[in-house]
Symmetry: none
Subunit: 220 residues, 4 copies
DNA sequence: AATGAATGAGGCTTCATTCAT
DNA sequence: GATGAATGAAGCCTCATTCAT
């Protein structure tokens, strides 16, 4: 006699709201997303949403955090597979690019709209950036410790790395008919490793721009 | 002399509005800035603003463009003083950092709120980023041509440079009691030059992090 | 019984808004009616109105249509009671006059403010007029078919009829202290029937103006 | 040495404003006409307008009156050419139709937008209608006095006449690709004369609808 | 838990009119 | 007389949040 109660409702309404919000925020941005949009996408009512979450802001906040968690998780798992310091750094870069390539919306949510949410989230976004920068810095410090790269101001380098990756992903997102994000990996990897002082022979030959690989201009 | 009086007045009022908007946008962000805020800051009436500008959006747009123009101008002037390719690139980096250090609000307007304005400006912002990336790429290509750095995918490198600089400035902006932005120059410069393949001996010794130099954590 | 409660409530609120709008539009005209006026009269909030209707315009539009429907309904019911062609036409005229006499505000809404709404409604109003003209033309054609009146250009005649009735009602509406609208029936009836070619003896004696019957001059 | 001072400026600025206003009001309607529109069309400045007229309303008012004057003048001149009572009435009808046919904008101003101006002009419009009704009534009374038509309530008949003519013109104005307004004359004339009791043999044969003569449906 | 109606504080923009030059 | 910049009172609509059922 049990209706579709279980499966359908188990991944509770809350989850469904989160999914819907994720999708909507990624598509229309925080400010342009109306609570009703989320309700509609989640097949709930506005009231239903406010039962599970105190404010629209809270939904966004939670989404940002869990999404970041997922990304960090992926990176950490990828890094764990490697032992050699530089290889670990490479794995991190590759993981980020691969993840975003596979989840364009995730990238949108985390990197594009982020500030768009308004002053309210400045802090949140800052924390997010800091978190990633520290993650990177951890790997760099490791590499320094192991002697793979010379000691230097890894704080700034990690910020630079994050900014560089961020921007490359961002351009790719905004490009009208972007090529494959993975194609950006070789040159980006080379630039980043080199910037951290990885020896030339470990970096390998300078990758040349491959025809058609560069992102097309944004049209509109 | 008497003739241009009115025109002068008008231009000055327009300027005053622009200034006020610049300040308000930088402080509160685009969405959180109300037209009345601008009017108040410009000591005009709301209607007065709408005489000079068609929409709130138009004000922001104009501000973004002229501000970017100023920055580009500064960079180009700084670069023009140098002849040696790598030195020119260094000058560019230094100019950006110095300009922002001196005009915190300018940085805020251009780099922080930018996307915050909402989907509407996505295009604008993208164009802005692209513009700077191209500026950088120009210098890199020059350096490649002169043999100062090896040929490689300067498109990605320039994007990475822009992202790195952008992020460093952003962290500094958001830091509660930031140190001097100029202190970030040595390590950033080293990282960037290296990433583009500038020979070690030209880059110089790895700058170590100086105590107290790193940006303090964001508090709030 | 408990189920329809909410739906009932909603419908009733919607109705209340419609009533309030009807009254306000009739009194102050479309442009001079502020949404807050309607909200006030409906004892709701502005937002409440916008929950039930997308725009101020939509309210007006719906009002025009349903009001016209009511009027048409009355006319058709009155006509249905008669079988003889000319008698049917007479019934139609009488029904319109009687309806408006009983619902001054209805008249106001339909005939006066109508165009006042601005270019936006030109189409709507035109359709309204056309609808009534066609209604009339139907009766005239019937009469022609039955041989009660000679064949002629019933299209123009019906437009003329509508215009004539419209104007008589309009004058009555605008007259400061109008007499009874019904008093205008005998002469108007005579004029209209005659204009369509109804034989003299069927029309009857020319009704003379009755003292005090004519509409007083508009004062203000 | 005299510039184009005389001719150009003689038909003073005031006149030019009036012309411009006439055109704009006719085209966009009173409410949708902005004072700047008039200024632009008159090649003056907003201030210039307010030198010559106290308010926007005053311009419209003056325009309505002078336009009505012109129309009345035409009618009266046309009527004066005839001596036989019924012929005079016919001349009046023909004059109105011909005038409007030749000056579509004049018709627009007087008959369409009229009420659209809002409650403010209700009085004005009423007076306008009354004026024309009286004009007609004068001719009808004349005809009664001369025995050309039987005595009856000429007040209502004249109102009906005006309404009928008004509506016919109105439909023609609103029709997307109206035929010639003059084509409506024969049937309209017949209907009106008959409505006033003009003997059949004087009215002549019932005009049949001519193919293609009727106004096309309004499309949009 | 859920629904969906209701609220009301703004937000952006328009525009007739005024006024200094 | 003319100009055009400035004013400010509204106006329509949006939307996060609350609340009765």
């Amino acid at each position: 006699m049990a209706k579709t109660d279980t499966a359908e409702q188990s991944r509770s309404r809350r989850e469904r709201i989160l999914d819907a919000a994720f999708h909507t925020f990624s598509t229309k941005g925080y400010r342009d997303t109306v609570v009703d949009d989320i309700a509609g996408a989640a097949e709930t009512s506005k009231g239903g949403i406010y039962f599970h979450f105190p404010t629209k802001e809270a939904i966004f906040r939670e989404l940002m955090i869990t999404t970041a968690d997922k990304l960090v998780g992926k990176v950490e798992r990828a890094v764990a597979l490697e032992t050699e310091p530089v290889a670990r750094a490479e794995a991190a870069i590759r993981a980020v690019l691969a993840t975003f390539a596979g989840h364009r919306t995730m990238a949108r949510l985390l990197f594009l709209d982020t500030i768009g949410a308004g002053r309210v989230f400045q802090t949140e976004v800052n924390a997010l950036h800091e978190r990633f920068a520290r993650l990177i810095q951890g790997y760099l410090d490791e590499a320094v410790a192991s002697g793979a790269i010379p000691p230097h101001d890894t704080r700034i380098t990690s910020i630079a790395w994050f900014g560089a990756i961020n921007e490359v992903v961002g351009r790719w997102l905004l490009a009208d008919q972007a090529g494959k994000l993975e194609d950006a990996y070789p040159p980006l990897r080379a630039a980043l490793l080199r910037s951290a002082g990885v020896p030339e022979k470990r970096v390998g030959p300078m990758p040349m721009p491959q025809p058609g690989v560069e992102f097309p201009e944004t049209k509109r």
